[in-house]
């Protein structure tokens, strides 16, 4: 019965959100079935729809896993946004300084680089940087909570703004290319580029930015599953989340677990940098994140903080995101902002799932749990 509930409430929440979203669409004078049909059709077309949907899903899997791991330890990580910004910048930084000669828009060399490492060294180094930088930034609120007891929600919100300002400063004042009108760093060395999946999947054009990072995201789901349910550390994290005083009584240092969980969480959020910098834009671009960190909260929640649930939820959100693109052009009054509205309503319904206990309980389908 428990597993049934785990599955059925997220599904009900999604359906309910689509119904409420449909009412909004009706209200502005369009046909919800037409709009939803357009969205799903566009997101699932081959190769562009599916290629881009999986590309959009990649960062959401990472941030969803990040939030889920912290949640298993009883922590709410609102800071994935800041963690992924720090990590993406750090990844770009390493790939620039060890990436060989950088030239400016006039073809003149800029002295940012100190060495030129081969791909076999540079790619793992850059990936490790993404994980470690995110982990370090994530560990800060963990440390503050463990040491001073200050609440991680507030600290992660504050650290988001600090992170964004910090990387924007380094981009603007230190790693910009002269003459570049955009707020972005110099390009990373080509040795740090990771291949797009189009280069070895037949029928998938290489212009679609879906890359190796997506496969890493799938591996991350598996690794986090094993970490949480098959290792001592994972067990201690879950024990801390389930009942901190019992865990402490059982000899687990909950403070250490809090820092560890936040570091793992930050490291996962940081892996967004691999997709963005090494796989897609090949530089750090200021403000690149489309609320990935916050959507990650929704993804984790909808996926019941389970790695495989996170994967499914990230795919759903990516379908919405990709599906929103043609909505602007092919409907009269509906804009692609319907996607954010739908996402928000899904979160509200998942968070307030008690709303569904009444109607279903009446038909004897689901019993309200006695907590």
């Amino acid at each position: 019965m428990k597993n049934f509930r785990q599955l059925v409430f997220p599904l009900i929440a999604v359906v309910a959100a689509f119904i409420v979203g449909g009412l909004f669409i009706l209200l502005v004078g369009d046909n919800p079935f037409k709009v939803y049909g357009l969205m799903i059709g566009s997101a699932l077309s081959w190769p562009d729809g599916i290629g881009y949907t999986l590309f959009y899903a990649t960062p959401l899997i990472f941030t969803g896993l990040a939030v889920a791991v912290a949640f298993r330890c009883g922590l709410l990580n609102i800071g994935a946004e800041g963690q992924l910004y720090i990590a993406a910048f750090a990844t770009a930084w390493v790939s620039i300084i060890f990436g060989g000669v950088v030239v400016d828009v006039f073809g003149k060399p800029v002295g940012y680089s100190v060495a030129s490492l081969p791909a076999i060294v540079l790619v793992p180094l850059a990936m490790l940087t993404a994980i470690l930088a995110g982990a370090a930034w994530g560990a800060i609120p963990g440390f503050l909570k463990a040491k001073f007891g200050s609440h991680e929600v507030i600290n992660t919100i504050m650290l988001n703004f600090i992170a964004i300002a910090l990387v924007s400063y380094f981009t603007q004042y230190h790693y910009k290319v002269q003459g570049d009108p955009l707020l972005e760093t110099a390009p990373i060395g080509t040795a740090a580029h990771i291949p797009r999946l189009g280069s070895f999947i037949p029928g998938l054009p290489e212009r679609i930015p879906l890359n190796i990072a997506f496969l890493l995201a799938l591996v991350a789901c598996l690794v986090i599953y094993i970490f949480l349910w098959r290792t001592k550390w994972g067990y201690e994290i879950r024990a801390t989340g389930a009942n901190p005083s019992a865990a402490e009584y059982g000899g687990i240092s909950t403070r250490k677990q809090i820092i560890l969980a936040m570091a793992v969480s930050g490291g996962l959020a940081g892996m967004v940098g691999i997709n963005e910098v090494l796989g897609y834009r090949h530089r750090y671009y200021d403000g690149f994140s489309d609320n990935y960190g916050f959507t990650g909260i929704a993804v984790a929640l909808l996926g019941r903080n389970h790695p495989f649930g996170v994967l499914l939820a990230a795919l759903l959100f990516a379908v919405l995101q990709r599906g929103g693109i043609p909505v602007d052009a092919f409907t009269e009054n509906v804009s692609k902002d319907i996607v954010q509205v739908l996402q928000a309503i899904i979160i509200l319904f998942v968070a307030a799932e008690a709303i569904f206990y009444g109607p279903f309980g009446r038909f004897g389908l689901l019993k309200r749990s006695k907590v």
């Binding site: 504050m158 910090l166 004042y173 909260i297 509906v334 804009s335 509200l348």
Partner: protein, 295 residues
């Protein structure tokens, strides 16, 4: 130095602190009653959009302001119902409201004005003169202080936020007080948002609060959940914002001060105060805990 610190800096500090203060005082009601309100950002956005749109249609900024307050309360009501009636996680519900208010104004704006980026510009003579609102600032703080510490409602509100079981045993309806507090926070944040769109500016643009709701939240914590201290925190954060604007492109002994470092100040200060380095900042005891009535 005198070219930086001058009378216009003081005025712009007060002007920039006003929306922060309105939202922070709103957050104060909600949080002192035990409901976490990270939705301030979304509440401000709903007020800002509705005020601009209604002013555009009616030509009256006061009707617009009223509509902004109404919108803030309506959105706050969603947060309230989710958190109080259905015991949703308050941080998650707040996050959902913030995401909703990034999308919904653009969605409605797209249908009404064929522009998802912004509302049409409201003519200058239809803007709210900012003086009354800024003066209201001076009235609001003592008023909130009085309500909180000198009225039965204020006493009940604080009781509900600290010890709902005891409040309940004393015959206070925890639910009713919490709903009232959340609605008040929506109203105040709504005014704060309206002030941004039809006071300081002349139209609503997407995400125009750009984090002010979170700065207001930071000010509330920095001000230790008390009205006077919260006002001082808002003034301090308004000052850093004003200074950041003033210092843009200014060189001090040949060096430009990067804007980003000034922007960080409110957030850094909040982390420091929360860690207990500048006195203890203690949240209301029942903050974030849904109340389950004993049967």
């Amino acid at each position: 130095m005198s070219e930086i610190i001058n009378i216009s800096l003081i005025f712009s500090t007060i002007r920039l602190a006003t929306p922060l203060l309105l939202a922070a005082l709103g957050g104060l009601f909600s949080e002192r009653a035990g409901i976490i309100n990270i939705a301030l950002e979304g509440l401000m956005l709903s007020g800002a959009f509705t005020a601009a749109a209604v002013t555009y249609y009616t030509g009256s900024p006061w009707v617009g302001l009223l509509a902004g307050v109404g919108a803030g309360m309506l959105v706050a009501a969603i947060h309230g119902v989710a958190c109080i009636r259905f015991k949703a996680d308050q941080v998650v519900s707040g996050t959902a409201i913030n995401i909703l208010m990034l999308g919904l104004p653009a969605f409605i704006g797209g249908a009404l004005f064929a522009s998802t980026g912004s509302t049409p510009t409201v003519p200058k003579e239809q803007l709210i003169p900012w003086t009354p609102i800024v003066l209201g600032f001076l009235v609001f703080v003592p008023l909130v202080w009085y309500v909180l510490y000198r009225t039965p409602f204020g006493l009940r509100l604080r009781a509900v936020g600290e010890n709902p079981e005891a409040a309940d045993a004393a015959g206070i309806s925890v639910k009713r007080i919490r709903y009232t507090a959340v609605l008040l926070s929506g109203a105040l944040a709504g005014i704060g948002g309206a002030y941004l769109s039809i006071g300081q500016s002349s139209l609503f643009t997407r995400n125009m609060t750009s984090g002010r709701g979170f700065i207001a939240l930071a000010a509330l914590i920095f001000g230790k959940w008390r009205p006077i201290q919260t006002m001082l925190a808002c003034l301090l954060f308004g000052f850093t914002e004003a200074l950041a604007i003033q210092l843009q492109g200014v060189k001090i002994s040949g060096e430009e001060i990067p804007n980003q470092f000034i922007q960080m100040v409110p957030y850094l200060l909040t982390i420091i105060v929360l860690a207990g380095f500048i006195g203890q900042s203690r949240a209301p005891r029942a903050l974030g805990i849904p109340y389950e009535k004993e049967r």
